[in-house]
């Protein structure tokens, strides 16, 4: 009885899947720089196919990062199969037995990815052994993702791969996703799931907007009162263990974690656990129980910031820290007589942007002393704060972001583009197309200006987003940004993208990320 059922199954699957054409193609996302697919097919046997280190590789079984990736990608390729051997025999042909992974430079398996990491790789699929070659482990991770996307199943369940050759490297080296854990706390699990999704889309930067006005979930060792008083509840915090978990999970996927501690605005929640940090506001000359931005005129402010950022720069291995600097509201500063007095002393006149600059410059000095680079929101540049030449300016104000990119790069700064990719702004229908059509270098400027655009970030701000809706809102909409930042500029065909994205979203669902549908249809599970 059972046997009969099994024999029937392939036939049923074939008949009942009218929309699944027999010759399903591999759906690569983001599309590599160069792909050559031969019509010749190889089959993979789930029971015996292995991913192993190449004999010439500088990495070996003691490279945990790669070992873990081999395990992970084997599972992604075959994992949703309950009984592997029942399905694999429908295609009789040459077999692909192994994928050999070779790292050509000195491997640093325990390192963190950085702004200079090399993500290029070359993948040759031929019988009986495929070869993945990368200079660094980071490229191997990207190549494994591509390999896993090349494998597909015929209607009878056999695992197939075309003989093929892929040469690939990213167009931009900064490809970020911003999450906001202050407006709503995101459970660690949600963050890890987001990192999974990022790896599937070859994103390499998690921009962690960790605190803001609403809550301060980061549990500081030096200033525990910040989260004691500033988090939504004692359960809504990220302990140091949580942070380490996120950092390691990200590292294993070749993803940098750039924390943002935004000051001097967006800091209401800081004030709860740190007395006198924020500016007391006045109404008609009388101090009221309301606070404004960080108080820039007190020495204690800078003592606090030194200690705090010393801790942050130690906890986060990443070379860059995001310092925020956006949307500083001057109303409270204007109301405060001590600030007014200080402005007079410094000769700032009525120009509160000078006071803002004063604060930011002192902060930047503090952060520079920890040997970290920094990223700031565009206002810091707009307000003419003196910046080091390697500062990264994040452009977020639309719609004239191309003009801003032009200015930022003309001034010689690096730029990251976020403005057209605010994914929290939802609308009905296929808005991924809008994100996909954006061209980051579409501004007037010299070649060397364009070189200063290092990438972009898809931002999912948290006002209306928490663990309940984050994943379907982020994926596959962010995938559109992922391809724009990885693939060549001429990869812009919406119809082709639609086909690949539809399958890519199904793949994400199969791998455990609840990505929402692109349009009407269904996924073969």
């Amino acid at each position: 009885m059972a046997l009969q059922g099994l024999l029937l199954l392939p036939v049923l699957l074939g008949a009942g899947a009218p929309l699944a054409s027999a010759a399903r193609q591999p759906a690569l996302w983001p599309l590599p720089m160069s792909v050559q697919l031969s019509p010749n097919l190889l089959r993979l046997a789930p029971g015996s196919f292995e991913i192993i280190h190449g004999p010439q590789s500088s990495a070996g079984p003691d490279c945990f990062l790669l070992q873990d990736a081999f395990r992970r990608y084997r599972e992604y390729v075959f994992g949703y199969l309950k009984s592997p051997d029942q399905y694999s025999k429908s295609f009789v042909g040459a077999e692909l037995q192994q994928l050999l992974v070779t790292i050509t430079s000195d491997s640093e398996c325990d390192a963190y990815p950085s702004s200079t990491s090399d993500e290029s790789y070359k993948l040759i699929v031929q019988e009986p052994v495929a070869v993945l070659e990368a200079r660094e482990i980071w490229g191997a991770l990207r190549g494994l993702e591509t390999f896993s996307q090349l494998v597909y199943r015929d209607p009878y369940g056999a695992y197939l791969i075309n003989k093929s050759e892929v040469i690939d490297y990213p167009r931009f080296h900064f490809r970020g996703i911003l999450i906001d854990t202050s407006r709503h706390y995101l459970p660690v699990k949600t963050i890890l799931q987001t990192l999974d999704g990022m790896a599937f889309n070859k994103f390499n930067v998690l921009h962690w907007h960790i605190v803001d006005d609403q809550s301060f979930p980061y549990q500081s060792i030096t200033f525990p009162e910040l989260s004691n008083k500033g988090a939504y509840s004692p359960a809504h915090v990220y302990t140091q263990t949580d942070i380490k978990l996120v950092l390691e999970y990200a590292r294993l996927r070749g993803i940098r974690v750039i924390p943002e501690f935004d000051t001097p605005g967006h800091t209401d929640s800081w004030g709860k656990g740190q007395n006198d940090l924020l500016t007391p506001c006045y109404k008609r000359g009388i101090k009221i129980d309301v606070f404004g931005p960080v108080n820039p005129i007190l020495n204690t402010t800078y003592e606090f910031m030194s200690k705090f950022f010393k801790e942050v720069s130690k906890i986060f291995p990443e070379n860059y820290i995001h310092l925020g600097g956006d949307e500083v509201d001057f109303t409270c500063w204007k109301s405060n007589p001590d600030i007014t007095e200080f402005m007079k002393q410094q000769g700032f006149g009525q120009d509160y942007e000078k006071l803002e600059s004063y604060y930011i410059q002192k902060l930047i000095d503090i952060v520079s002393s920890t040997n970290k680079g920094y990223i700031v929101w565009q206002e810091v540049f707009d307000n003419e704060v003196k910046l080091k030449q390697d500062t990264i300016i994040e452009v977020w104000i639309g719609p004239s972001y191309n003009l801003e990119l032009q200015k930022v790069t003309a001034a010689g700064y690096h730029a990251v583009l976020a403005a057209p990719w605010y994914l929290d702004y939802i609308s009905y229908g296929q808005d991924w197309k809008k994100y996909y059509k954006v061209e980051p270098l579409d501004f007037s400027g010299t070649e060397s200006q364009k070189d200063l655009v290092i990438g972009g970030t898809a931002a999912l701000w948290g006002e209306f987003v928490d663990a309940t809706n984050l994943s379907p809102r982020l994926w596959p909409r962010a995938s559109a940004v992922g391809e724009r930042l990885w693939s060549p500029a001429n990869v812009r065909d919406l119809n082709d993208a639609y086909e690949r994205l539809t399958e890519h979203r199904c793949r994400m669902v199969r791998r455990g990320v609840p990505a929402q549908p692109v349009f009407t249809g269904h996924c073969e599970m």
Binding site: S233, I426, A467
Partner: protein, 569 residues
């Protein structure tokens, strides 16, 4: 970097009266004070905050509720139970209520563990049971359009009693009771002295799910029914098939789903599945109205039933594509008669939704046989052909003693309808603004059902629930008789962009805005109060396992924990 929201932000500074769930943090947060002191302060905290807060966190808001803030009763989870009143017309053995009692004990108290039963310091009177009285017998029937859902709930020192005319009203009362109870930080359960007199404003409070554009697993449908019960919705409008797929497994015509579903092994609803949905809904006082939309929206039907759809022509030859149901063949009506006979017996509700929307005439126009038929019949417009079809279909369905609901085009195109037809208004602006359509439909003496402003699949940035909430279905020009013909409304979740990955957060709590509009008194329109109650209710939904998305910034004590592992290969 994040632009300030464009709508009024709601103050987060007010504390909740130590609820089991808190949408807004505040100075009254538990855990700061040692437990005994906190207990003493409980009523005080509550009183202090009541001025600006709703009297109670109930969604949808009852017709009449009075809460005595100073009298609080304690409930002990180990001892508390529901019991049938001696004089109640239904007693132990009543499936609907026996099940509901178990369900609501779980909802109210959770799985435990609870504190020991010794509370030496407890100041409140302990109540160990809620008596439930039902006026009329009947536990095995299905809820209907005119089922009475009224109930009264009296929680006082003398009485702890829920009275309802029918078991359906008792279900609504149990839901309200469950929302009145809160849990203190130490895990004790409390409820204030409360009097509720409640009944729905409209008898038809529906939610539409579309299982054709995307297949929804049974589990998603059952979870939606849970969420509906929490919101006092009482109609599940199951738009079960459409152009893209035919997941309903017909006994009479198994080829329909074998050929027309996305995947005939995994993407179908068997008769067993359908029965499960109907019974699960019944247990929650929810009617299931199936929609088999014809003559348009039927591409998926054509795969299993050759000859059912109109062949389209390009010039003088068939193009290989198909249009709406072919209205000129006898075989079409023979098929419909058999098919709807099955549907009439599978779905117990008196009403069937027959669709009838968006019939595209292009294909009919191209087909020479259709043109010849029209000539023979003297039809000068395709609307007449549509009417011809619909009238024959209505006769078929009437012969099975079923009532029917149709989308507004059927009325707009002047199809002759039985006077008890329900016309479903879905077009927002054209050909008429929906208020004018409501006016026209009721003026013609038909009952009307409103969905036009409640297409929840349409999303936009921000708190769009407010717009949904401020709609009033009776906001059109018409006599009182006309207004009384409006039987309610339905929130629609069309499936073009919705499947199990995003259904629940897109539906809740936005669907709640429709629920309150259809249940509560017309005068319940205060957005600030609604925000506070809805934010609280959203947290309560999370606590109950419904993946409802946030209204705005804030947190819930019981956050959602997604099921990453279960989804994982």
């Amino acid at each position: 970097m994040t632009q300030r929201p464009r709508y009024p932000s709601v103050s987060r500074t007010l504390p909740l009266p130590v609820g089991s769930c808190s949408a807004m943090p505040g100075p009254g947060q538990a855990g700061v004070l040692p437990p005994p002191l906190l207990l003493l302060l409980l009523p005080l905290l509550a009183v202090r905050t009541l001025a600006a807060q709703p009297e109670a966190y109930v969604w949808p808001w009852p017709q009449k509720i009075s809460v005595s803030p100073n009298v609080t009763f304690a409930l002990k989870p180990i001892l508390f139970r529901f019991q049938y009143s001696n004089s109640s017309a239904v007693q132990l053995g009543c499936s609907v209520l026996d099940q509901a009692f178990v369900r609501y004990l779980g909802i109210i108290f959770g799985p435990g563990p609870w504190l020991s039963r010794h509370h030496p310091g407890l100041k409140q009177t302990v109540k160990n049971s809620l008596e439930v009285f039902v006026n009329v017998p009947g536990c095995d029937q299905f809820p209907e359009m005119n089922s009475v859902e009224n109930y009264t709930l009296t929680l006082s020192d003398q009485q702890f009693i829920l009275k309802a005319h029918t078991v359906w009203g008792a279900l609504r009362g149990l839901e309200t009771f469950s929302q009145l109870i809160w849990r203190s930080a130490e895990g004790m359960f409390y409820v204030k002295q409360t009097e509720v007199v409640d009944f729905p404003r409209f008898p038809h409070r529906g939610l539409l799910l579309d299982t054709s554009r995307h297949y929804l697993p049974l589990q998603s449908i059952l979870e939606t029914l849970d969420g509906m019960a929490y919101n006092k919705f009482n109609v599940f409008h199951w738009h079960i098939v459409d152009d893209p797929s035919f997941p309903y497994e017909s006994m009479t015509f198994p080829e329909l789903s074998r050929k027309g579903s996305y995947n005939s092994a995994t993407h179908i609803y068997t008769i067993g599945d359908v029965k499960k949905v109907i019974e699960y809904a019944r247990m929650r006082g929810i009617r299931v109205i199936s929609e088999f939309d014809t003559p348009g929206h039927t591409l998926s039907w054509g795969k299993g039933i050759p000859g059912l759809l109109t062949p389209c022509y390009s010039g003088s030859t068939p193009s290989g594509t198909f249009g709406p149901v072919n209205p000129i063949l006898n075989s079409t009506y023979e098929f419909m008669a058999s098919f709807f006979q099955e549907i009439s017996s599978v779905f117990p509700d008196f009403y069937l939704h027959l669709g009838g929307d968006e019939v595209d005439f292009t294909c009919w126009r191209s087909n020479p046989d259709i043109k010849a038929f029209m000539k023979k019949r003297g039809f000068d417009r395709f609307e007449k052909l549509e009417s011809f079809y619909i009238q024959k279909l209505l006769n078929i369905v009437s012969s099975y003693r079923k009532g029917y609901m149709v989308w507004q085009e059927v009325f707009d195109n002047n199809v002759k309808l039985n006077p008890d037809t329900v016309v479903h208004v879905w077009k927002e602006r054209s050909p008429f603004p929906y208020a004018l359509e409501m006016q026209n439909v009721t003026k013609a003496g038909f009952r009307a059902l409103l969905s036009a402003p409640w297409y929840l699949n349409r999303i936009s940035y921000g708190q769009d629930w407010q717009e949904i909430y401020m709609v009033d279905p009776l906001d059109f020009k018409g006599s009182p008789e006309q207004k009384s013909l409006v039987i309610g409304g339905e929130a629609c979740m069309w499936g073009e962009y919705v499947d199990e990955t995003n259904l629940t957060p897109r539906l809740w709590p936005r669907g709640g805005a429709v629920a309150e509009r259809l249940w509560s008194s017309q005068s319940v329109r205060d957005l600030d109060l609604a925000y506070n109650r809805l934010a609280h209710f959203r947290c309560e939904l999370l606590r109950r396992g419904i993946q409802a998305q946030p209204l705005y910034v804030g947190y819930c004590e019981h956050e959602y924990f997604h099921r990453m592992e279960q989804n994982h290969p």
